[in-house]
Symmetry: C2
Subunit: 560 residues, 2 copies
């Protein structure tokens, strides 16, 4: 059979060959809308490739991109990759020293920066030693002390709109993201053409996201975060219309874009859909009925949110699990036949899980000895995965690599999970966020979901705090819904309906907003730092006498 390399130029060439007139739409920061076609984009991607030649970037060289989601960022998804270089997608929400580390770690030679993100780069410019050229993603260069600097449009200007793509081996790197992780400096994950080609065809699989040519795809998830969950590549492969929000990721802007551009598929962290539901409640004239499915990831969506989108917008929310290390798609809470036929309530439990392994993803959950745990939906273990689109190494981090990949070639995800007999995975928690109380695990995610099901609670986060006797105990932090003021007793009574007494948090803190990480997840590290002291003083006194973890049996364990 033909040794056709599985490279990203194939995706782009297919879109231009078969869907040259399909649109790529960007809502620009000034509120205006930029539209052009795959044919237009192709010409500019070729110009970009010539411009990189002009900058004398060698094969394999990396360019950094500090940008929101828009058409120029889309061009950068292909120009460096197809011409044999690599795009380093920079997370500008990282703390300065981490941000600088990622760029130096990737050895970015050119840095492409949005005009509205210049400040972050300027503040760290002196430390960006690898960068030899700054490019501002716009028509012109605003006042800046970056140098040398050129406007993106000037860089492209005058170059031919055709390019002879070089023969790139499919195992070559096309891009890199850094995973922020929970400890230490961010680690780089080098992505290969082969991995993203396979990830893209998988995203169109009917048992995965099923992204097809008739979809209109709106990636709310940042394109610097795990390849924008692979959506710009998957959508290009099928020639789907794409919609980019640039800076407009507030619920009103997203809902309006969905309405105006007839978006059928979108993806974001649950918070976005939570906030959009609130916006839609107040703005019933905004119509999101074209939406066929919404993918969420990063944290588990509450079942109440899933039900609301079903009932009010006929827009199923499908949870996904993945990591920067997995390109990212690993599992999706699609409903296999046996589950789809269940009564609605049982069925929806599956929809709140991390989900079912997508085709091409091997999944196992193992105990400390490396043996698979029973598929009973209860026994916890570490989630390990293997796939052509899962990384086998961290860039220039041999120690981290060795610690993360098993001898038989599985990635140790660090997530604690259970699996049921139908093959569904539920991520109970990150290793680092798990609460281990008296030798037994308590799932903060399950407590959070149940708290968020309470009518007075908008958001909830449960963190571990130190405890003299039980080592760790849970503390709940909640944000009330408008006008509500839930009491600790209310919340404890609510949780007690579902969980054993020793799971119940030792304290409840009501705050206005839960701090988020750069990728929109609840920032548990900051929460722990903030509330650690409070609970230390109280917890000894409040630890319920019946909180005897060693005495609990299987009958007490919650159903997952």
């Amino acid at each position: 059979m033909m040794r056709v390399q599985l490279t990203l130029d194939k995706l782009l060439e297919r879109a231009v060959d078969l869907f040259p007139e399909r649109e790529l739409v960007t809502k620009l920061p000034d509120g205006s809308v930029h539209r052009y076609t795959y044919a237009d984009a192709y010409g500019r991607i070729c110009q970009l490739a010539h411009a990189l030649d002009g900058l004398e970037l060698e094969a394999g060289a990396r360019v950094g991109v500090v940008a929101t989601n828009h058409y120029r960022h889309f061009e950068l998804y292909f120009g460096p990759a197809c011409s044999g270089r690599s795009i380093h997608m920079c997370n500008m929400r990282l703390p300065d020293h981490h941000f600088v580390h990622t760029i130096e770690d990737a050895d970015d030679e050119v840095l492409f920066v949005d005009p509205w993100l210049l400040e972050k780069v300027e503040a760290n410019a002196d430390d960006l030693e690898s960068v030899e050229q700054f490019v501002v993603l716009g028509e012109e260069v605003p006042e800046t002390d970056l140098e040398p600097v050129v406007a993106y449009e000037d860089l492209l200007e005058g170059h031919p709109t055709e390019y002879e793509w070089p023969d790139v081996d499919e195992t070559a790197e096309y891009g890199m993201c850094h995973t922020s992780g929970t400890t230490g400096l961010p680690k780089g994950v080098p992505y290969t053409h082969r991995a993203m080609y396979l990830h893209s065809i998988m995203c169109g699989h009917t048992d995965a996201n099923g992204i097809g040519e008739s979809d209109v795809v709106l990636p709310v998830v940042p394109m610097f975060h795990a390849n924008g969950w692979g959506l710009p590549y998957a959508a290009t492969f099928v020639g789907a219309k794409q919609v980019f929000p640039s800076v407009h990721t507030d619920p009103e802007a997203i809902a309006t874009l969905i309405d105006e551009e007839e978006v059928t598929f979108s993806a974001a962290v649950p918070t976005i859909w939570l906030e959009m539901a609130e916006f839609l409640d107040e703005n019933p004239d905004v119509d999101i009925s074209n939406i066929e499915r919404l993918t969420v990831g990063g944290s588990a969506p509450p079942e109440s949110l899933i039900r609301k989108y079903d009932e009010e917008y006929d827009a199923p929310i499908i949870q996904g699990w993945g990591m920067t290390e997995t390109s990212p798609l690993g599992t999706l809470s699609t409903l296999r036949k046996e589950v789809a036929e269940l009564p609605a309530e049982e069925r929806d439990e599956y929809r709140a899980m991390a989900g079912f392994p997508v085709p091409g993803m091997q999944v196992r959950i193992v105990d400390d000895d490396g043996d698979e745990v029973p598929r009973d939906g209860e026994t916890m273990g570490e989630l390990q995965v293997r796939s052509p689109w899962v990384t086998d190494r961290y860039h220039d981090r041999p120690d981290e690599t060795e610690a993360s990949v098993t001898e038989d070639g599985y990635l140790k995800t660090g997530d604690v999970a259970v699996r049921n007999e139908l093959g569904y995975v539920d991520v109970v928690d990150r290793d680092t966020d798990m609460i281990k109380s008296g030798g037994e695990w308590i799932s903060s995610v399950q407590l959070e979901n149940e708290l968020m099901a309470h009518e007075d609670v908008a958001e909830a986060s449960v963190v571990a705090v130190d405890h003299e006797r039980w080592q760790e105990r849970p503390l709940a932090v909640v944000v009330p819904t408008d006008g509500a003021s839930p009491t600790a007793d209310d919340l404890e009574d609510h949780l007690a309906e579902t969980f054993p007494s020793w799971w119940l948090p030792d304290a409840y803190e009501v705050i206005e907003e839960i701090p988020k990480t750069s990728t929109g997840k609840f920032d548990k590290k900051r929460l722990r730092d903030r509330f650690d002291v409070v609970l230390e003083a109280e917890s000894d006194a409040e630890a319920p006498p019946e909180a005897e973890p060693s005495s609990h049996d299987d009958a007490d364990a919650p159903e997952l």
Copy 2:
């Protein structure tokens, strides 16, 4: 990224890991039904692999299979491949000397034979020099002079039901089919693991066949013909229930299987669905309403058949184009958004086309100079394709290989096709079946489709016969519907409504049945042989004076 080999054991392991209880159903020759699960099949496939070890078959060795579609054939789709050997799927409908050639060409060391196909093998046993072991696919060996011979069940008996699959490189051969072609000896096409892995994930793509876990897949197309169109592999990858008809491929048996096993997806040549429609007309109690889509290939289905299945059974017929050389799927007449939105009549024209390139398939139509022809739906050229699942060679046929693959790596299919501006391909004819009259092409396929749209015509085939003046002229062979007796004038009047006068056949022959090739296509070679003389005598006298091919202009050319 992990260098996970794209090998067929991944498909099988996924089915057993996630869908161990899903069923594989076979309707046995005696009419009884055999049922077992992927878990059962897996155990037996492991036993088969051990048995092949016992026969001392080395890595890369080929085993031939002469069998209809059933569960043992399914086991042979995986056992040899996953253990590092190769399955050679033998076409027992070939003439004896071709049949023998394929087995000797593949150097099959073991030959697995259905009890009901023994005669074909026995008749040629003396010439099968490579074969060292015959295996009869059953419980016991019937009376036979084959030797040495063993029953399949005895071969498996006692072996362990687990097997440690070897590390097979994804570029290794897992199987071989021979393409019967139109001239000369059949040519072997060696398939690689990588090709079929990619073909399988593509078959699940929402813009291709969209085969998913909830499907129930019935391959009517023989499993010796181009991997059964890849269906047993694609269905295993997603863990779908599979239904095998063995010898029962008559319309009644197929319709009944669809009804009883709740089949959602099936594939066959158009004749099968044509005959099934006739059966269903007479047996309205048989219910095929579970069918969600039917794929056809081999020859174009008449629009009237497509409409009948739409209207009466709500079962869309999707045409596909492919070859033994292309694994086989190349294009599918799925409806891209712009087409789906057309009025029904215009839309259905697309559904009768070969279709749209599936993701991963590069397609071009070129003139004699190798330049792409205009995408106007009219200009004919040779269809050329490129994909990881398209062959780059014929087994041990360097001359044929060189003649079939272009310098830039496309397969020359020998099919004459047109393409329209939306990217749809319509195969006008095989090179060898095209009618070239006075230097201009006449499409026998289009004439056939229009003839079959006539109420008195059940089947029609149009072939080229020699002509002194015009080099070639069309001759039509028709099978009337029950009780009808169409005249040449009726048919000519009917065709004249659509085609220019010089396209109209010079003669019409009414026969009882059109001879078919071993793969169920109209056998035009035999038709030509049979009617050549007849027309030679008549054609000079009947050639219409207005048949002046050189004078026709674009306005006369039919819309495709």
